[in-house]
């Protein structure tokens, strides 16, 4: 009985690992070539941009909040970053724009939540609608396309590789490690969990809750900025109306599958990291098994429910 208990504990506490390994096995059975190097690296390159967003989302959700503006912010910044690149011919300035722009947009969310005392759901819902509208207006229906002069060098940022390891894969791993260190090893990380766990008690322990929330949204914005930069580099042409659509939902899904509690206080970055890969594996397996792509969402939905069910079991 003791052994049985430990096993069921391990399974519920590491549900994201369990589902990850199970999916890997299923994928390999469906198509043995799944385990090829090119296919495995593909999981990372296709998951990287959503991955950056998911890292930001992890912080937001761990503090018991939510951010729906992800996709619209990515579209806004990536569209404008193409303009910056075209007019300055400087990749560095383009990156700088995405970083500063992301932080500013994130802080706007944060200030509305903390000073305006509006629920994060409402603030970011409004931001989602507003930023999408702004970029649509600026793009006037047409794409933001990178000039020929900058095309190759800019595209190489996302499409390049180092000794056969795709750049995007490296970026994703690095940002995951950094975010994980922030959450586990810094005061800021502890404060985030504290705010998500019990805001009152956190405040009475001397934590400046508003400041922490602002920093969280700023970090999330920064992550969206990087995602926007990489998206622009990857596609070299940004459609204002469609770029980044559904990113917030994918990011929330990755965080939820990864075992972060929606009410905040609990969650691990490694879980989110695996969550991103799990979402990609599902898509890949379905393609390999010739399942109509329309059913992708159905399977994803079922996986999310199973993941969260495993969490609620753990809580009891």
């Amino acid at each position: 009985m003791e052994i049985k208990k430990t096993w069921s504990n391990i399974i519920t506490n590491h549900s994201h690992w369990v589902s990850f390994v199970l999916l890997l096995i299923v994928a390999t059975i469906v198509n043995p070539s799944f385990l090829s190097w090119s296919n495995l690296t593909n999981l990372f390159t296709q998951g990287a941009i959503i991955g950056f967003c998911s890292m930001g989302m992890s912080l937001v959700i761990s503090a018991g909040m939510i951010d729906l503006s992800t996709g619209a912010v990515v579209a806004l910044l990536s569209g404008l970053s193409v303009n910056v690149l075209n007019s300055t011919h400087s990749i560095l300035l383009c990156l700088l724009f995405c970083i500063v722009g992301g932080i500013v947009v994130g802080l706007i969310n944060g200030v509305l939540v903390t000073k305006g005392k509006i629920a994060p759901f409402i603030v970011t819902l409004a931001a989602m609608s507003a930023w999408r509208s702004v970029i649509n207006q600026l793009g006037q229906g047409g794409p933001f396309s990178v000039d020929k002069t900058m095309y190759t060098s800019f595209r190489n940022i996302a499409a390049g590789d180092v000794f056969g390891i795709p750049n995007l894969m490296i970026y994703l791993i690095v940002v995951s490690i950094i975010t994980s260190v922030i959450m586990n090893k810094t005061k800021f990380g502890t404060y985030i969990y504290a705010v998500g766990s019990n805001e009152n008690a956190a405040r009475l322990s001397g934590i400046n809750v508003d400041k922490i929330k602002n920093l969280i949204f700023a970090y999330a914005g920064l992550m969206y900025g990087f995602a926007a930069f990489l998206l622009a580099s990857r596609l070299t042409s940004i459609q204002a109306a469609s770029a980044g659509t559904g990113y917030e939902m994918n990011a929330i899904a990755a965080v939820a599958i990864g075992g972060t509690a929606m009410e905040g206080g609990r969650g691990k970055i490694i879980g989110t990291f695996l969550g991103i890969l799990i979402l990609r594996i599902i898509t890949t397996v379905l393609i390999m098994a010739n399942v109509p792509p329309f059913l992708n969402g159905l399977v994803q939905g079922i996986i999310i429910i199973i993941a969260v069910l495993a969490q609620t079991k753990r809580k009891k």
């Binding site: 090893k185 810094t186 005061k187 800021f188 990380g189 502890t190 404060y191 969990y193 504290a194 998500g196 766990s197 019990n198 009152n200 008690a201 956190a202 405040r203 009475l204 322990s205 001397g206 934590i207 400046n208 509690a261 905040g264 206080g265 609990r266």
Partner: protein, 498 residues
């Protein structure tokens, strides 16, 4: 109704919560169910009310064994469980809450508000309350909410009413009113199971008693055959009397003023002035609504202060905020540990390190080794019982959780400790270790400001007492002048400064 619970057993995983408990309640009986926290009282009542099934044992009502009790079945049998925590929807009106799930309908199956309001108001009036059935629950004070809960159970002609600590939010007058109502109902044949820690209440209202300890049935009988001392002994298993008259408290008070409060006014309190000395335990007490909790929060920088001044060790505190208060050496053990004290998802050692981080730790990264050291230091000091400091704090008992929160401030070495009901919701044994900790703190030269209403507690720890009434200081007593009666007279405004 004649109720019999026979040999009830229940376990939660490895913990044996109930181990063969018997309980008999006759018609028109008020039956006191006694036991420390964790003795299994609430678990037993949950089984009776059908919240979850027992592992074994029988529920027998009027001679019939009830198979598979459910909440619905219990209600149909006219059993009502008034839980310790309020189960009301704040956004609904009083009568809507009272009829929730059992609405009255008109012929076309709309809700019959008119009928509901009339019937709800009748019950409320019969209880001599001033609650209006169409008030929003949100607008009521806690005591009134408690009365609504009770009114709800009276609405459906219940035959057995279970009350789990119903008086925790009531003042003495309200308690007496509640008892009046209970006695009236008793005469008409209604039975009660009454759970309380407060001996005067048990002896004031009950006629039978059953004692549980550690999930086991200990004793049952007539209240008139025992007294409070015997009951307490049964409860804890060994003699531990807080009201030991021979008890002598050492005083460690010195002349050095640590906290000086001059004429402060804020939300809920008015023109409050006092000095708190090094080594002193100063009690602030007062009934619900006297401004005690507002004052404690404001002194910690978490509430408004519109007038007056506060200084710590001679230094004026300006622009009081939580951070400023903490940096000047004030610590707060808040009341209501669940809502304000603990961070339920965080580990024990994180909970203990938090205050230190916000004030003294200026590095970006946390230091796991330091966290462990901090924890072990306090563990030894206060004898905290834990399996591992990495576990979440909710894995601990209430008393040990409170010790962790104490430890959080010890690590900050705060000179002035404000404690708001520091023994709330922890059992008798743990209370005494908290008193010991408070004594040691005073001895080591800290200044303590303790907000509490429990007289045995005041008797144990107080050097001096301030009594608040309607936000103003009504009485100041020292240890030799205090008695339960004098404090109550000041608290109720019958005596004291104008």
């Amino acid at each position: 109704m004649f109720l019999e619970l026979k040999n009830i057993k229940k376990n939660f995983d490895a913990v044996q919560a109930l181990d063969g408990v018997d309980l008999k309640v006759g018609q028109g009986e008020i039956h006191g169910l006694l036991g420390e926290n964790g003795a299994g009282k609430t678990t037993l009542m949950n089984i009776l009310a059908g919240s979850f099934p027992p592992k074994s044992g029988d529920i027998i009502i009027d001679g019939k064994i009830i198979e598979k009790m459910t909440p619905k079945k219990a209600m149909d049998m006219k059993i009502r469980f008034i839980h310790q925590e309020l189960n009301l929807c704040n956004d609904l009106k009083v009568y809507q809450n009272m009829f929730l799930g059992e609405e009255l309908y008109t012929k076309v199956h709309f809700i019959d508000d008119k009928k509901e309001i009339t019937r709800a108001q009748k019950v409320l009036d019969s209880m001599n309350s001033h609650i209006v059935a169409t008030d929003k629950v949100e607008s009521l004070v806690t005591a009134e909410k408690q009365l609504v809960e009770i009114a709800k159970s009276l609405l459906f002609n219940s035959e057995l009413i279970i009350m789990d600590e119903p008086t925790s939010a009531l003042n003495n007058c309200e308690i007496e009113e509640l008892f009046e109502i209970m006695r009236d109902l008793q005469k008409s044949g209604v039975s009660f199971i009454y759970i309380s820690h407060k001996m005067p209440e048990i002896f004031g209202i009950c006629n039978k008693y059953t004692v549980l300890r550690d999930g086991k049935f200990i004793e049952s009988g007539n209240i008139k055959d025992i007294d409070e001392h015997i009951a307490t002994k049964l409860l804890i298993g060994h003699s531990l009397s807080a009201l030991d008259e021979k008890f002598v408290k050492e005083s460690h008070q010195s002349d050095e003023v640590f906290l000086s409060v001059k004429g402060i006014t804020g939300d809920g309190f008015n023109d409050v002035t006092f000095d708190l000395h090094k080594g002193e335990v100063l009690i602030v007490t007062g009934l619900q609504g006297s401004g005690c909790s507002e004052l404690s929060m404001s002194l910690f920088g978490a509430g408004n202060i519109t007038e007056g001044s506060i200084s710590v060790k001679g230094k004026d505190i300006k622009n009081n905020s939580i951070k400023v208060a903490m940096e000047s050496g004030i610590g707060l053990i808040p009341k209501n540990r669940k809502e304000r004290g603990i961070l339920p998802d965080l580990s024990i050692k994180d909970n203990m390190s938090l205050a230190y981080y916000t004030v003294k730790h200026h590095k970006l990264f946390v230091d796991e080794k330091e966290e462990d050291e901090r924890f072990f230091r306090q563990q030894i000091k206060m004898n905290i019982k834990v399996a591992s400091q990495e576990n979440v704090i909710t894995s601990l008992s209430g008393g040990n959780q409170q010790k962790v929160i104490f430890g959080k401030w010890f690590e900050l070495d705060s000179d002035v400790m404000i404690m708001d009901n520091p023994t709330q919701g922890i059992d008798v044994g743990a209370k005494f270790s908290i008193y010991e900790i408070i004594g040691n703190l005073a001895k080591s030269g800290k200044a303590l400001l303790v907000f509490t209403n429990e007289y045995p507690e005041i008797h144990r720890i107080a050097d001096n007492i301030i009594v608040l009434y309607k936000g103003r200081i009504k009485g100041r007593l020292n240890r030799s002048e205090m008695s339960e009666i004098s404090i109550m007279e000041y608290s109720t405004g019958t005596r004291g400064e104008k």
